[in-house]
């Protein structure tokens, strides 16, 4: 009985986990690479969904709609970076401001609080029309997208600009004294991070058949939970693990997180309690090292 429950949750958590893996990868860039606690994510996820859904229903080809969603996410992230670096607003507050602004923007874009996509042709329509269980093409699709983005990220983090971005999060003073404009790097990095998140939003909206203005609530906490789970399972150590392992941990963590959630639901957890459960999960993960008086478990973040 328990085993079948266990097995039944696997395909759904694989699909969900891979679909949301891009959010975790985005958070790796902001929180882990740039050490920037970016809360824009709660707004840029529905932004991607809103832009894609509106454009698709207006008759724009799905692939271009997704591209527009990614661009919108990039701009939103750059906005947060601009607030922080040029207007000198605290990093947490910059993200909260942008997230709040995006709530109105998303409603403007959609014209109402949600748009259904079940009756229109989306990127997922050909996958859903295949003569196999829905899970197989979906999981394959999201797997390919997540892995492609992961590999591109890995390559980027080993370029000259990628090095500069990692150093910006690690030791801003040092890389600035080597001639890097760390403000620009921060703005660009946050843009990139939120572009990933918006891509995830655009794809998730099409997979679930609707975009909703509230679909981003709690996204940052869920994403953080994912990367924390992934990092502890894969043994990522702060400061000495490779970038390839760090991005892999985000994807693995995202799948495991969705698996834990799915299992919780099967075992009787109310869907309304999910955000609380996730929050508690993050508190435990971040808090236990502090209670044990370990120093290294502490998150190193700028501007907090």
């Amino acid at each position: 009985m328990l085993l079948t429950t266990f097995l039944r949750t696997i395909p759904v958590s694989l699909e969900q986990g891979l679909a949301y893996a891009l959010v975790a990868l985005g958070i790796v860039i902001s929180f882990r690479i740039l050490s920037f606690p970016d809360l824009t994510v709660d707004g840029s996820f529905p932004l991607g969904a809103a832009v894609a859904a509106r454009l698709i229903t207006e008759g724009v080809p799905p692939i271009w709609s997704v591209a527009a969603a990614v661009a919108a996410g990039f701009i939103a992230g750059c906005g947060t970076g601009y607030l922080n670096t040029k207007l000198k607003i605290n990093s947490l507050l910059s993200g909260i401001l942008m997230m709040t602004i995006l709530y109105s923007v998303n409603l403007r874009i959609m014209g109402r609080s949600n748009i259904q996509l079940l009756t229109v042709e989306t990127l997922m329509t050909p996958l859903e029309n295949m003569q196999v269980s829905r899970f197989i093409p979906m999981i394959t699709f999201f797997f390919l997208v997540a892995v492609a983005v992961k590999i591109l990220t890995d390559l980027f983090l080993h370029t000259q600009i990628g090095f500069a971005m990692r150093a910006t999060g690690d030791n801003e003073q040092m890389i600035r004294s080597l001639g890097v404009n760390t403000d620009n790097i921060t703005v660009f990095g946050l843009g990139l991070s939120n572009a990933y998140v918006a891509l995830s939003g655009a794809l998730v909206a099409q997979a679930q058949g609707f975009a909703d203005v509230g679909m981003g609530i709690g996204m940052i906490v869920a994403g953080l939970a994912s990367i924390i789970i992934g990092e502890s399972i894969m043994g990522v150590r702060k400061g000495s693990s490779s970038m390839i392992k760090l991005t892999a941990a985000a994807i693995v963590g995202s799948i495991l997180y969705k698996f834990i959630i799915a299992l919780g639901l099967r075992l009787g957890l109310a869907p309304t309690d999910l955000k609380m459960a996730t929050g508690v999960m993050v508190i435990l993960a971040l808090g236990i090292p502090a209670l044990r008086k370990e120093k290294e478990g502490k998150l190193h973040l700028r501007g907090v």
Binding site: H158, Q160, I161, S177, L178
Partner: protein
């Protein structure tokens, strides 16, 4: 090479906490000069370096590097001219990155960065040779994270990074003060060797008078934001700690300076 003209820097201007950190200093450091700067706490030594580096903009006066006024150049745009080492060994390197990644970043000092590979494999041999010169065995550990190194090793690596692309001016800000005496001595000797071999124009701020007298061809003593004493050449070579104490003892309240 490096010229200060009536440079003045005031902190918290217009408040009751107003502090004149640098009070109209004029100084001309020539090409290849190795200038040591001493002075007690609050004399304006570090402010002077920060003015050169562009962290502070002077309230009055001008700073010239190589004949060009750099007053309006932001910190990151001056990087091509300057190499800098801080007192804190943690400040000069990115701990979560590897030794070779740190060196590769320093290699691009002041140059435009693009989407090319972060590490140029052709430079690895040069990195290895440079690291071997430190005599710390780091040449075998190119792919090790810098967080695994000791303070002295990190400061030596910073020294290498600061001089890898031959800056016009090298700024040393009490760079051996946080190290244990033995390591400090080693890092200092290495510093002097690199400076001499490459005839680098250098400003070294130090709290240690022995060090200030022993190294360099010119010494400046700052007091309350002004140049109190400026000695060079043969006169500098003949200088002893006792003589400086005899002449300026009343102003050198700082215990550390005298040891």
């Amino acid at each position: 090479m490096l010229r200060f003209e009536q440079v003045k820097k005031i902190f918290k201007k217009g408040t009751i906490d107003e502090k004149v950190a640098v009070d109209g200093i004029s100084l001309h450091v020539k090409h290849g000069d190795f200038l040591t700067v001493i002075g007690s706490n609050g004399a304006g030594k570090t402010t002077l370096l920060n003015l050169v580096a562009g962290i502070y903009v002077p309230d009055e006066g001008n700073i010239f590097i190589d004949g060009g006024c750099v007053n309006s150049l932001p910190e990151h745009r001056r990087a091509g001219y300057l190499g800098r080492i801080f007192q804190d060994p943690l400040m000069g390197t990115a701990a979560s990155m590897t030794i070779e990644e740190n060196l590769a970043m320093a290699d691009l000092r002041g140059r435009k960065r693009g989407l090319g590979r972060g590490i140029n494999p052709a430079r690895r041999k040069h990195y290895r040779e440079s690291l071997a010169m430190l005599d710390l065995g780091l040449e075998q550990r190119l792919k090790d994270s810098v967080s695994l190194l000791s303070g002295g090793q990190r400061q030596s690596l910073t020294l290498l990074m600061a001089t890898l692309s031959m800056p016009k001016v090298l700024l040393l800000d009490e760079h051996t003060a946080a190290l244990d005496p033995k390591t400090a001595q080693k890092v200092m000797e290495l510093t002097a060797r690199i400076i001499n071999e490459n005839a680098l124009t250098t400003i070294m701020v130090t709290h240690n008078m022995q060090q200030a007298i022993r190294y360099g061809n010119r010494m400046v003593m700052l007091h309350e934001g002004r140049v109190k004493f400026d000695v060079r050449g043969l006169e500098k070579q003949a200088l002893t700690v006792e003589e400086v104490v005899r002449r300026f003892g009343s102003e050198l309240k700082d215990e550390a300076l005298l040891c």
